[in-house]
């Protein structure tokens, strides 16, 4: 009984507060001062910069909105456990008592040190990892993260990342990173790769395009060794790559793991070979677009298309590590991992031009998905795609092959021509999809419909585990 009275009282107070706010909203007001309480390490100037737009507000509503936006940005920076805002009448006797307000921020800072360990399975590999993060090291939400991971394909990876927000905004992050990775490509390309590098990156939210821009510059020293097959021996040795990369990502899907509505777009461009330093010179571009829609009440249809082009400048061969790999449960289903595209005996050489596309239909399993609430769906799919090397383009040229020497420098148009003249690998199948909290798991029965000789086909059951499926 008492509870009922409390609830009614609470509701009445809510309504009164809303009335007060809506009555006060249009009245003119301005911020007289902002005080931060409870911040020991965070610089006042940093918090004030996040709330600075509030000083420009001239109505009570806009003051509240701007302060709230600023507070949200501060929360997203992951430095405070608690953040409370109090709006008060000004303490300053000289302040305009009718319009001026004081903003008081009560914060509780998060602990400076964060240590994490874990195991991850996804995108065709498993690893165990650990990281140490120092938060808010200089009082401006700067973080220093040291990470180490050991996995099945990435034998070991170490990285050090110093990140800082620009203008106190989580929308604009700048970081400096140092990385060292040992990748074991024995299973697919008979070599091991060690890559060590330094890079800087600027990550920025674009509200107009509803996406994220990422601009990075990177210098990496790669060393390919432990060559196990003659097909890959020319890949061996050292290479220095200096590159500038721009990536735009727009993700408007309702669920990144198993979307039923929305679209996704990723455009990545890389220019390698700045000046005379470094021996990798290429332009690399890759676009991925995906669209998901509901068909009727039960079915969801998802379409994905990926296309990539690697255009080398000069006569030096591109390296497998820079090329595109196709095939596998996350790429073209029904092919083994890196089992499509140009190959030499057992080795995947990688493609300098590729495309792949897929259509998937998801349907709930009667009496399981809805009734029991298990995130398991029936899945039918059709995948297609192919990849080519520029050295082979004479083969696909419409002119006589004898007129076109195969060692000509590659031209994007001719790679595209080779791509359009090559019959794609087409596979289809049926299976089950389980949407786990951290990854999507697929078990499919795959049937290759059309293949290119040399493709490593997986006819029958195939298990897929990852985040980014075709």
């Amino acid at each position: 009984m008492e509870q009922g009275v409390d609830a009614q009282e609470y509701e009445r107070q809510q309504v009164r507060l809303l009335d007060m706010l809506s009555n006060a909203a249009p009245t003119s007001a301005h911020v007289h001062s902002i005080t931060v309480k409870g911040a020991q390490r965070t610089r006042d100037s940093f918090v004030l910069a996040a709330l600075a737009p509030a000083f420009k507000a001239r109505t009570f509503a806009s003051v509240l909105n701007r302060v709230q936006e600023g507070a949200q940005n501060l929360t997203r920076l992951d430095i405070f456990d608690q953040l409370e805002i109090t709006v008060d009448t000004p303490q300053d006797p000289f302040a305009d008592r009718n319009e001026a307000v004081d903003i008081i921020l009560n914060v509780k800072e998060k602990s400076r040190l964060c240590i994490k360990t874990g195991t991850e399975v996804g995108n065709g590999e498993g690893n165990m990892n650990g990281s140490i993060t120092l938060r808010n090291i200089f009082g401006g939400a700067e973080s220093l993260q040291a990470m180490a991971s050991f996995g099945t394909r990435t034998s070991s990876a170490f990285s050090l990342l110093l990140a800082t927000p620009l203008k106190s905004s989580p929308d604009h992050m700048f970081d400096f990173n140092a990385h060292s990775v040992v990748r074991n490509n024995m299973a697919t390309s008979s070599h091991e790769e060690v890559a060590r590098g330094l890079g800087i990156r600027l990550r920025s939210v674009d509200r107009a395009l509803n996406g994220i821009h990422e601009l990075s510059a990177d210098s990496t020293w790669r060393c390919m060794d432990r060559i196990a097959d003659a097909a890959s021996l020319r890949q061996a040795g050292h290479s220095l790559k200096h590159s500038i990369t721009h990536t735009f990502i727009r993700d408007l899907r309702n669920d990144p793991l198993l979307p039923t509505k929305g679209h996704y777009l990723r455009i990545a461009n890389e220019f390698a070979g700045l000046g005379v330093v470094g021996d990798v010179h290429h332009w690399k571009t890759e676009v991925e677009a995906s669209h998901s829609t509901e068909v009727g009440e039960q079915l969801a249809l998802s379409t994905t298309f990926r296309v990539g082009l690697l255009y080398p400048f000069g006569e030096k061969l591109t390296l497998t590590t820079d090329r595109f790999q196709i095939g596998g449960p996350l790429s073209i289903r029904g092919l083994q991992t890196n089992g499509g595209g140009p190959r030499d005996s057992t080795d995947a050489l990688g493609a300098e031009g590729y495309w792949s596309g897929g259509i998937s239909v998801f349907a709930p399993i009667p009496k399981v998905t809805r009734e029991k609430g298990w995130p398991v769906f029936l899945h039918g799919w059709l995948n297609a795609g192919t990849g080519v090397l520029s050295a082979d383009r004479a083969k696909f040229s419409t002119e006589s092959a004898t007129d076109v020497p195969s060692n000509l420098p590659s031209i994007p148009a001719s790679i595209i021509q080779s791509l359009t003249n090559t019959s794609p690998t087409v596979t289809a199948g049926l299976g089950l999809v389980y949407r786990h909290q951290i990854a999507r798991i697929e078990l499919n029965f795959c049937l290759p419909l059309q293949i290119s000789r040399g493709d490593l086909v997986k006819c029958g059951w195939q298990l897929g585990l990852g985040m980014n499926f075709l």
Binding site: I227, D229, A231, L233, L240, V277, S345, L349
Partner: protein
């Protein structure tokens, strides 16, 4: 009760399912990439070096170029200059048609299986030839490694010949690594690295080679060159043909340092029998190759 699998009632269904599966893929197209097949065995070596010669600037590579030619192998050479591409992280290595990669030990086996390999008939001479090979591969190799990788006068030339195809600043780093590697290898066989001792060892080895060869065309009076001739020639060729620092190319170095850089070459030039032997081998190689 069915006793065997083929009597099981589900067996015909499984059989027809299996035969239906075997029709996939429905269509197989031409491969997207056809690697150029290797027509003849290819020896991957260091080269072409400062003199732009057909013979490598690396002693071990020259040994195998000479030996394959002596055995009548028709082979191609490729200047890959990248030891990491080899099966043991070393050059030379041979890739035979079919794509198999052979290191030096496997090459010897492959040669004896597929070609007529000239050996010394007398077992005593055979044992002596082994002794000569190991003398070259220890004393002469130590001196050569020291002269190429550790002498200050030759550092620049070493960097240019071995690492100049890499992009800056890798040649400097890799040259430093190679120098450390050379020191480590010398220390495997010696307690200390002392210039005078290493060159004295080389001079004694050269004397021994000169005496053993005597007036003969090839070692141990053989009518045909054997592996010991190829080994001795490989090292002699590099000792004699390798450019050394001079006062014009390296004006910052003292006369004493320049003399140290030339020392090994001069020791070899003093042994006329060996110089003539090397010349004879080059002539034979150019006639056969």
């Amino acid at each position: 009760m069915p006793t065997t699998l083929d009597q099981h009632p589900l067996f015909p269904i499984l059989q027809s399912f299996k035969s239906a599966l075997s029709t996939f893929p429905l269509k197989t197209n031409a491969p997207v990439h056809t690697p150029t097949p290797l027509e003849k065995p290819t020896l991957f070596i260091y080269g072409p070096g400062p003199r732009n010669s057909a013979l490598s600037f690396d002693a071990e590579c020259v040994v195998w170029q000479a030996w394959l030619t002596s055995c009548g192998v028709e082979y191609a050479t490729e200047h890959i200059n990248e030891p990491l591409s080899g099966p043991k992280g070393k050059l030379p290595f041979l890739v035979v048609p079919g794509g198999k990669t052979l290191n030096t030990d496997q090459m010897q086996h492959w040669l004896s299986k597929n070609y007529t390999v000239h050996t010394l008939a007398d077992p005593e001479k055979q044992a002596d030839s082994q002794a000569i090979i190991s003398l070259v591969e220890t004393k002469l190799r130590d001196a050569l490694l020291f002269s190429i990788f550790c002498e200050a006068t030759n550092t620049q030339l070493m960097r240019q010949t071995y690492f100049d195809h890499q992009s800056f600043p890798l040649p400097h780093f890799l040259a430093h690594q190679a120098r450390e590697g050379a020191f480590d290898e010398i220390l495997l066989r010696n307690d200390t690295v002392v210039r005078s001792e290493i060159y004295r060892g080389a001079a004694q080895a050269l004397d021994a080679l000169s005496v053993t060869l005597g007036e003969d065309d090839y070692f141990f009076g053989s009518a045909q060159p054997t592996f010991v001739d190829a080994t001795v020639f490989g090292y002699l060729h590099v000792l004699l043909s390798r450019p050394v620092g001079t006062s014009t190319t390296q004006p910052t170095l003292t006369e004493e340092q320049l003399a140290q850089g030339r020392q090994l070459r001069e020791l070899t030039l003093e042994r006329k029998t060996l110089v003539d032997f090397a010349k004879r081998c080059v002539r034979n190689l150019s006639n056969n190759g």
